[in-house]
């Protein structure tokens, strides 16, 4: 419940203040690696639904991308051994964000180099956000 509340608060903040950090994407990765793929999927669907309301992109795109990275993070975490800690969180967040933006650009056939900063900042801040969410 607290996690969903955090998602709504940060989501509203992200849509009003222009932040170079994708908090919503980080929450999807967090749910995937800390609580498993089903949780990653559920939280991703919730985040995706929230983003759909604010976004003008194609119908269902945010829903697919956020739930996709939540599920993927959970499945990969189950399949590979990785020592728990900040390093693991940064790596998962980095690749989660990378997958998110790459898939977005593939679907929309656009490219924005500025997202590289968002990927780096988001992955660096992930351990802190994950501690707060825990």
């Amino acid at each position: 419940m607290t996690l969903f509340l955090w998602i709504i608060i940060t989501g509203l903040l992200q849509s009003t203040a222009q932040l170079n950090i994708n908090f919503l994407g980080l929450f999807a990765v967090f749910a995937g690696i800390k609580k498993g793929p089903i949780w990653g999927l559920c939280v991703g669907i919730f985040i995706g639904s929230f983003s759909e309301v604010f976004s003008s992109s194609s119908q269902g795109l945010n829903l697919m991308l956020y739930s996709g990275i939540g599920l993927l993070a959970g499945i990969i975490k189950q399949k590979i051994y990785c020592r728990e800690g900040a390093g693991q969180e940064i790596i998962f967040s980095f690749f989660g964000m990378l997958c998110f933006y790459t898939a977005y650009f593939a679907f929309t056939r656009t490219i924005q180099t500025s997202v590289l900063f968002a990927i780096i900042f988001s992955s660096l801040i992930s351990p802190l956000l994950f501690r707060l969410a825990e």
């Binding site: 009003t16 170079n20 604010f54 269902g60």
Partner: protein, 258 residues
């Protein structure tokens, strides 16, 4: 025999596809706008607080700006006096020529209350909608320059497609040289004016205005200024990089032209 543990990723992916397919049907344009209408007040509160905090953080900058504005006001008051004189003279001449007054435009002020959270689309949500007689397709300006156009309207909110978005393309003209081209959004990189004549001799700082062609925007709205000019990859046209007049990243208040 079915092994749930082994088949788990496949089941999860199938659930994912089913959930996304079903849920994506819900998020129609109408549903999005209605939900935003409901979220209008919390969004307004949050965005208002964010703008106030930003103003506090930029206190020194605002102080310096205030000083310049005060000086400008004094100059403008002088100009206003001259303009009043000209207006009176204009009025007299219009009467003399039996000139018919055209419809005066109305502006609806609105506050930017939300943006795309992913930052991948340059669209904003403003706190004005059908209640304020805002309609789809209306022009949105800010600080004297073109900001975008209304693409969706709710009762008390509207979504605006900013000129820097990838989906925004309209016709523009370079004020000095009268060269026409298609102005496309390029997100953070600003605007690109494509298909300019190969002999276009525009220079840095030349103003770009809307041409009024194809009915997207009316003629004569200031878009921005030329930053650089380069030949496109085919070698048949020139492309100009245009810096928008409006600082899209700092957009807080806008005017919707009715």
């Amino acid at each position: 025999m079915i092994k749930p543990q082994k088949n788990f990723p496949i089941i999860a992916v199938l659930v994912f596809i089913a959930a996304v397919t079903l849920l994506s049907q819900i998020f129609s344009s109408d549903f999005r706008v209605k939900t935003l209408d409901l979220l209008r007040i919390p969004l307004k509160l949050i965005s208002g607080s964010v703008y106030a905090l930003r103003d506090v953080a930029n206190f020194m900058e605002i102080r310096a700006e205030n000083k310049i504005l005060k000086e400008n006001t004094a100059n403008l008051e002088m100009e206003l006096l001259n303009l009043r004189e000209a207006a009176l003279e204009n009025e007299r001449l219009k009467k003399f020529l039996d000139f018919k007054e055209s419809d005066r435009r109305k502006f609806v002020p609105a506050l930017v209350i939300a943006r795309d959270p992913s930052g991948l689309n340059d669209t904003v949500v403003i706190d004005g909608g059908r209640k304020d007689k805002i309609e789809k397709g209306m022009v949105v300006i800010s600080g004297g320059g073109l900001a975008g156009r209304v693409i969706e309207t709710g009762w008390r909110i509207s979504r605006v497609l900013l000129i820097t978005d990838y989906d925004s393309t309209f016709s523009g003209v370079i004020e000095t040289t009268r060269d026409e081209g298609a102005v496309s959004g390029s997100m953070r990189a600003g605007l690109v004016m494509k298909y300019l004549d190969i002999g276009c001799n525009a220079t840095k700082g030349d103003k770009v205005i809307t041409s009024g062609l194809y009915g997207v925007f009316e003629k004569g709205l200031l878009i921005g200024e030329v930053v650089s000019l380069e030949q496109d990859s085919s070698g048949l046209y020139m492309n100009a990089i245009v810096k928008p007049e409006v600082d899209i990243r700092k957009l807080e208040e806008v005017l919707v032209v009715r």
